[in-house]
């Protein structure tokens, strides 16, 4: 059953050192900046973070990395024009990187939520990112075996939540939110609006409430403007 909390600090309470935390967003679209700020303030460290990128500019995930709280990041595209905090930590050997092709990242997260033990993907076959991985030929096509990617917590930004925890997103800010919500033991959501039960049409709900544990309303979320051409 979902808890509706008063502020981001309460929403992220209890995330321990060493936790694996999925953070939604593609670049800054969908990035739950206020939850990340609260996570920084909580002092949790030695985190493994799963995100598509490795932070933009100085806010949100970038600030978490700058604060030295991220031991390891699992992502597809760390290097961007404005990923300077990650770049510095990486070059200093202070952050571990697991690089995963974006579609395999998404499918591994989806597999964790869907109870799939492992799957064969064509993506990455024959490349250095498949080095040492099991492969298989099926019907003349080549595949790499990939395993689910789970997390202790997911921090997700939604557009609207209802008081049961059903979620809808906005435009391309949807990105990783729905699959991360399903892949984490505890899913924490910041939503611009929290509406009464029944106010969301059951046909349009993207994340059913079963995947949501905690909600906090953040009516006007912060975001650094996206630098143009910041990379994939």
């Amino acid at each position: 059953m979902v808890s509706i909390l008063d502020n981001p600090a309460e929403a992220v309470a209890g995330i321990p050192d060493g936790a694996t935390v999925m953070i939604g967003g593609f670049g800054t679209a969908g990035q739950p900046v206020e939850l990340i700020d609260a996570l920084i303030a909580s002092g949790a460290t030695d985190l493994t973070v799963v995100n598509n990128n490795a932070g933009n500019g100085d806010v949100g995930l970038a600030a978490l990395i700058r604060a030295g709280r991220v031991r390891k990041i699992v992502c597809s595209f760390p290097r961007q024009r404005d990923s300077w905090h990650f770049d510095q930590k990486y070059r200093a050997g202070e952050i571990e990187l697991e690089l995963v092709p974006q579609g395999n990242l998404a499918e591994r997260i989806r597999a964790a939520g869907a109870g799939i033990g492992a799957f064969y993907t064509p993506t990455g076959y024959g490349t250095s990112l498949a080095d040492g991985k099991e492969t298989r030929e099926v019907d003349g096509h080549h595949y790499v075996l990939e395993y689910p990617l789970r997390a202790d917590y997911a921090l997700v930004k939604a557009h609207r939540a209802d008081e049961l925890g059903n979620l809808v997103y906005r435009k391309t800010a949807r990105n990783f939110g729905p699959i991360m919500a399903a892949a984490a033991t505890t899913t924490i959501v910041q939503a611009e609006e929290v509406v009464p039960v029944g106010a969301l049409d059951p046909e349009i709900i993207v994340t059913p409430c079963i995947y949501v544990d905690r909600i906090v309303r953040v009516p006007a979320p912060a975001r650094a403007p996206e630098p143009v051409g910041a990379g994939q």
Binding site: F26, T123, R174, V228
Partner: protein, 222 residues
């Protein structure tokens, strides 16, 4: 480019040339960088729908001014617009669409393409580079046809269509056509066929490249 004598197609001419080979009504993903320019040459009545791997089909042109919405960006993280008939979906659904072979055409930039259609476009292989792959490997292998759009020679004059890629691979045998400033190539079972030349002769091309070439410049497009 200023001050340098150049021959062959300009980037915009090349983008227009690729656009001409995108079938009417096709579902297309244009990789970040050069291929993005192709959208400027797709007429609205072509019915071509653009996919962006961060979760949208029916992407419109870049957003400017007041209509910029930071929740609506493309894979290059540039604010874009929504066309009528657009749809949004999450990342697993978006990459399922790509990996499942539903896109008709994907156009990518490249560091190198091999004679067998191997693609290298994600990593220079330099040890001091921070590796970043994004959706490149999914794009390379997912679409019904993967086109490459690039200059035929690198800035230091090295051919980028090569017998074997020396850069780290993005995908194996995935490229079907290579559109360059000097020529259009089709990767066929029998080898690399030259379909079109721009300010360049077949013989010059043979001297430029170490890849055996088939002359198909006199055959109709197919």
């Amino acid at each position: 480019m200023t001050g340098v004598t150049r021959r062959g197609l300009s980037t915009d001419e090349l983008a227009a040339r690729v656009a001409g080979d995108v079938p009417r009504g096709a579902f297309v993903n244009l990789g970040i960088g050069l291929p993005t320019r192709i959208s400027n040459h797709l007429s609205p009545d072509s019915g071509v729908m653009l996919h962006t791997e961060n979760g949208m089909l029916g992407m419109g042109p870049e957003a400017q001014g007041d209509i910029v919405d930071l929740d609506l960006i493309n894979a290059g993280k540039v604010p874009v617009t929504e066309l009528p008939g657009a749809s949004y979906f999450h990342h697993a659904d978006s990459f399922a669409m790509m990996r499942g072979g539903h896109l008709d055409v994907c156009v990518l930039g490249a560091y190198q393409v091999s004679a067998r259609g191997d693609l290298a476009n994600w990593h220079t292989g330099r040890s001091d580079d921070i590796p970043a792959v994004g959706g490149a490997m999914d794009l390379a292998i997912g679409a019904k046809q993967t086109f490459v759009m690039m200059n035929l020679l690198s800035r230091d004059g090295a051919p980028k269509l090569v017998p074997e890629c020396t850069y780290p691979l993005t995908g194996v045998g995935c490229v079907s056509r290579v559109y360059t400033d000097l020529a259009v190539f089709v990767i066929e079972d029998e080898g690399v066929a030259v379909r079109e030349l721009f300010d360049c002769t077949f013989d010059e091309l043979m001297r430029l490249l170490e890849v055996p070439l088939l002359d198909r410049t006199r055959e109709g497009d197919r």
